[in-house]
């Protein structure tokens, strides 16, 4: 999480100094579920994301150097500078992008899960440790979109090993979730399509982890998909070029007080799981 936060802060610095360009969307405040989910995955599992994908890439194991180089458009970037901030791909790490069109990643992720199931059922590949799992990350704005519903249905129909993770930060660029969605409780859409729907506090990495353990295990055992709604908050604007902030400062402040990194830090120190010095070490490494 610390690495993710530091990485994104550096992106912002570079962008505002004119060294990075185009559309850059940073993840500050949302690290808990990227870490909470991805750190439980194995190398053979897949992750599909949206344009806000730097931290997903880094969590999945793409070297931060390669991600940063990609943002600078360098040939040493994970996509040789051809993809850019919004299009992180790594076949080696099973990171399938990086899609600028929200909702586009969801069918792609569902397809990845389909291939995992197909290899087991049709090609009869042995899977002693369970199926390969796919985790699809997307935002609240996506949840009104037709492709999302189509995939919820098909994933459940075919019992695909996928976890749909909604990063509900209450804002789709400048559009408040409450203005765009008649029934704002996204987790409810899971049971409407026959799968479990779970709501979790996305600012608490340990709570997210609990939910993630169960959802990923379900998928691995071939029990089918889960919809997880993580309530969270975007500390920065929609993108680094987005100065138009419609959010109220007091709301921002209340979420800042629930910063996942600070919360975990407090938890660790309270439970004496590590010392202050060890934590400082981690932060320095990030």
């Amino acid at each position: 999480m610390v690495l993710g936060r530091v990485f994104e802060d550096m992106c912002a610095q570079m962008y505002y100094r004119g060294k990075m360009f185009g559309f850059v969307h940073v993840y500050n405040g949302q690290e808990a579920f990227s870490t909470g989910f991805i750190k439980l995955l194995e190398a053979r599992d897949s992750v599909v994301s949206t344009y806000c994908d730097h931290v997903h890439a880094v969590s999945k194991g793409v070297p931060p150097r390669a991600v940063m180089a990609e943002l600078f458009g360098k040939a040493t970037g994970c996509c040789r500078g051809q993809g850019g901030s919004m299009h992180m791909f790594s076949a080696q790490h099973n990171l399938l992008g990086g899609f600028a069109f929200i909702r586009e990643g969801i069918p792609v992720a569902t397809g990845a899960a389909f291939s995992s199931m197909y290899r087991h059922e049709v090609l009869k590949e042995s899977t002693p440790n369970g199926l390969d799992v796919t985790v699809a990350f997307f935002g609240d704005g996506t949840c009104n979109n037709g492709q999302f519903f189509e995939c919820l249905n098909m994933a459940q129909l075919w019992k695909l090993p996928i976890v749909f993770v909604v990063e509900n930060n209450l804002w789709a660029m400048g559009m408040s979730h409450l203005r765009a969605t008649y029934d704002p409780e996204i987790w409810k859409k899971g049971p409407a399509f026959g799968m479990p729907g779970v709501h979790v506090d996305g600012m608490d990495v340990l709570k997210v982890r609990e939910v993630a353990i169960e959802a990923i295990a379900r998928a691995r055992r071939g029990k089918g998909p889960t919809l997880v709604e993580c309530e969270t908050y975007r500390f920065r604007g929609h993108s680094l070029a987005d100065p138009y902030e419609l959010r109220k400062p007091d709301k921002k402040a209340s979420y800042a007080a629930r910063d996942p990194i600070t919360a975990l830090r407090k938890y660790i120190l309270e439970k004496e799981l590590a010392s202050e010095a060890e934590l400082k070490d981690i932060e320095k490494k990030g």
Binding site: F21, G22, G84, F99, R103, N144, M173, G174
Partner: protein, 377 residues
Amino acid sequence: MLGIVRRKVGCEVFSAMKFSLALRKVLPTGSALPMNYSTATKEITVREALNSALDEEMSADPKVFLMGEEVGEYQGAYKISKGLLEKYGPDRVLDTPITEAGFAGIGVGAAYYGLRPVVEFMTFNFSLQAIDHIINSAAKSNYMSAGQISVPIVFRGPNGAAAGVGAQHSQCFAAWYAHVPGLKVLTPYSAEDARGLLKAAIRDPDPVVFLENELLYGESFPVSAEVLDSSFCLPIGKAKIEREGKHVTITAYSKMVGYALQAAEILSKEGISAEVINLRSIRPLDRATINASVRKTNRLVTVEEGFPQHGVGAEIGMSVVEESFEYLDAPVERIAGADVPMPYAANLERMAVPQVDNIVHAAKRACYRSVPLAATA
């Protein structure tokens, strides 16, 4: 008295006198509008032009409404609809959820019943999510219903490459939409184009695809009092000769018009007089103006930002072959974007989009000036 009238961001400097003289020569052939260009004294940006056109049309006709992502409270993703929510209220300026297929379809249905929606796509790349409605329920309905249903809808938004926004945000869709009978496709360049063509599009009884350009939104252009009048309108299907010339015709649309004009300036210093045509309308294409120009100059360079295969230049080239073959003294030169998804890295992006140099070299090739082909991109 007459100050220097300058277009920002371009490198041309016109004195006001020279500008008005140039304008008087620039009457498009066969135009029915009374051309009365007074000396331009005001400059507005393309953004202001679009905003004022929307405002005036919404004010004149209560059936006109605007729909799209972030058009209301956010004042428009690129601030094109700034102030309209305050003025016309949430019933006429609708912030939609992220559901292009849904809201494009809703717009079409509303248009079937005589409302006049202006549907904004945050970029035309996102129109791919709604393309079924644009083509199958908007473009084809008038024909399929034998004229019973008309669809007075406008689909507008930025099109083509911006800067560093990657492959999924940079495609030009002019050729895609211009392929379809039942659609009109417009590509404004200047502030005058933006105002006149958007008003024409909104007033038009048929579906119009209105392709703006993000990088042009902030550019200023001089406009006459006539352009600023609320009744101002440009005819759909008429190109504009931006610069008269006699040695080679250069056709372009949208941002490339600016590049073509820069190229023409460079060429004039080398004794090549280029005629620059701002297409303004891709469908219907003003074949009459293009062919009349080629019959005069005998050489043609087509310029577009989009991918080369099956592009706008291909259609223009064929039109000239069909109608003015004997007048051609050289093969048609086609300048287009590189045949590759838009790369993200800045140096690669520069190579993927036509530059002024490419246009200059093409014009010289058409004029049989020796320029080694290897020197061109």
